[in-house]
């Protein structure tokens, strides 16, 4: 009975490389990780957006309309739906002159209970200490 905690740190904007989106799809895959593990063992993935990475959280992304691609916004909602913890660095959101109103914060329309947490960097830093492994995207 053990849990391995992974911390995914997204530090780059969306749509330049696939990586920010792959961070989300890999985190979502924790839902099925137990098929490979012994009873009671599991792996969790929490996601933090820092630096330009916070731009992934901008709402109203129209990637599907223009590129036929699931937007990063949609992937954030799917991650909330499967109860992934998501933190967004408050200082970076403010640096870009954005407010919480500009961000995707919940996935209520899908019935998700989880919400995105906009928190000071210090809190993200503390979480990093608690993780077993860090993966930077």
């Amino acid at each position: 009975m053990a849990t391995t905690k992974l911390g995914f740190i997204v530090q780059r904007p969306p749509y330049k490389s696939e990586n920010p989106k792959l961070a989300l799809t890999h985190a979502i895959a924790t839902q099925s990780v137990e098929v490979y593990l012994n009873e009671g063992d599991t792996v969790t993935a929490d996601i933090a957006f820092i630096g330009d990475g916070v731009l992934n959280c901008k709402k109203d992304q129209k990637a599907m309309d223009y590129y036929g691609l699931t937007s990063t916004e949609q992937h954030i909602k799917m991650a909330l739906l499967v109860d992934i913890n998501i933190w967004v660095c408050k200082e970076d959101v403010e640096k870009f002159g954005l407010s919480e109103d500009d961000l995707v914060l919940d996935a209520e329309e899908f019935g998700a209970d989880m919400t995105v947490n906009v928190v000071p960097y210090g809190e993200i830093s503390k979480k990093m200490e608690e993780m077993n492994h860090l993966l930077f995207f």
């Binding site: 053990a2 391995t4 992974l6 780059r12 330049k16 490389s17 696939e18 990586n19 792959l22 961070a23 799809t25 890999h26 979502i28 895959a29 924790t30 839902q31 099925s32 990780v33 098929v35 490979y36 593990l37 063992d41 792996v43 993935a45 077993n132 492994h133 860090l134 993966l135 930077f136 995207f137």
Partner: protein, 119 residues
């Protein structure tokens, strides 16, 4: 001896990220460690068989096969591969294909994880 899980996502042939991942795997196995190598995104390019060796391009099929013979486990993200048209037919022998949960599961028993993301 420990277990190292390496994930390589950023994978331009020319960036040498894949080369680095393969060389680090070799060095770790040489020292008696166990290595799982996970390729996602464009990194799945490594899974294709019959890469023609040119001196102008990285050529990793040969070193990879040698490492697999020494126990390296290497797995490509199945969806990432299929989206690029890298079907099962063109996959190198011994190269596994799984969904993304395989990578996460590999970290469960890993002593160290090196995730090569980047751009």
């Amino acid at each position: 001896m420990g277990k190292l899980t390496i994930g390589c996502f950023a994978s331009l042939v020319g960036s040498l990220n894949l080369d680095f991942a393969v060389k680090l795997s070799a060095a770790a196995i040489e020292k008696g460690h166990t290595v799982d190598l996970w390729l996602s995104g464009n990194g799945t390019m490594l899974s294709i068989k019959d890469q023609r060796p040119f001196k102008d391009y990285s050529h990793l099929e040969k070193p990879l096969k040698e490492l697999m013979a020494k126990g390296l486990t290497v797995t490509a993200c199945e969806a990432c591969a299929e989206a690029r048209g890298y079907n099962k037919d063109v996959t190198m022998e011994g190269f596994k294909r799984h969904s993304m949960d395989w990578y996460l599961a590999s970290t469960f028993s890993a002593d160290r994880v090196l995730h090569i993301g980047g751009e």
